[in-house]
């Protein structure tokens, strides 16, 4: 693979690391979703960079567009779940979810 690909891979690895670190260390549900968004940015960057490096930018674009559609659907559903959790527990703290019953 080309040097350009490694260059983009370097940055997307940084994004994915930051997102994973936040997923492991943060407790606010909205912040956890923001961390998932950061990880998805890294993934879409590496998808497009691979297509760019191999000269298949059109297929990579099609895959990124599909990825974005999946991402939006995921975020909408996750935010709806977060609002419901907030109505039940009156908090966004992920630790309070362990007390849920039934």
């Amino acid at each position: 693979m080309t040097n350009t690909w490694y260059f983009y891979l370097f940055f997307s690895a940084g994004l994915i690391f930051a997102g994973l670190y936040a997923l492991l260390s943060k407790r606010n549900l909205i912040r956890l979703l923001i961390a998932i968004e950061v990880i998805s940015k890294g993934v879409s960057l590496v998808l497009l960079a691979t297509g760019f490096a191999k000269g298949n930018i059109l297929v990579a674009q099609a895959m990124v567009v599909t990825f974005i559609v999946v991402e939006v659907s995921l975020v909408a559903t996750a935010l709806a779940i977060i609002i419901n959790i907030y109505r039940h527990t009156k908090s966004l703290d992920v630790r309070k979810l362990v007390r849920l019953k039934g």
């Binding site: 260390s25 943060k26 961390a35 297929v59 975020v75 559903t77």
Partner: protein, 160 residues
């Protein structure tokens, strides 16, 4: 390449800010700026359609959804985050970046690339003819998202 590097560094910085800013609204706006920079990077790589989607959908729609949720769940009570995690992060990040750079340097030219044929046609042809199943999947995912949101916000019956 200098502009592209600056955009990538800016995107990583705003993404890290989105994770570590205390105020959630500011965090959501930082995420939108990171998406905007990613969209510009896509444009500069020649992927204009992906750039348009990134800017309009991720930087626009998802930010609106985030801000709406933050407004709906705002009671003034803050979730107590671990301070140690915030303090330790820069150290971990620097160590990771060094390891990342060394690994990338070590892997350079070592990963074999499968041969790929030259692309022909336009983006529309590739999307509609080559990736038709993806489009069917997209419709399925959108419908799943819509129905799940409807199910989560349905009004309760008297019997519930």
């Amino acid at each position: 390449m200098i502009v592209q590097t600056a955009l990538l560094i800016g995107m990583v910085l705003f993404s890290v800010l989105a994770i570590f800013l205390k105020d959630l609204i500011r965090a959501a706006i930082s995420l939108a700026v990171a998406s905007l920079l990613l969209g510009i990077i896509f444009f500069r790589m020649g992927a204009s359609y992906a750039g348009v989607f990134e800017i309009s959908v991720v930087a626009g729609l998802i930010t609106v959804l985030f801000i709406l949720t933050i407004a709906l769940t705002n009671t003034g009570e803050e979730v107590r985050e671990s301070r140690l995690a915030n303090v330790v992060f820069p150290l971990f990040f620097v160590v990771f970046v060094i390891i990342d750079a060394l690994v990338m340097k070590g892997l350079l030219q070592k990963v074999p690339a499968l041969p790929s044929g030259p692309e022909a046609g336009t983006f529309g042809e590739v999307l509609w003819k080559g990736r038709t199943l993806d489009l069917v999947g997209q419709i399925g995912v959108i419908l799943a998202g819509v129905f799940s949101v409807l199910a989560l916000f349905r009004k309760r019956d008297k019997h519930d």
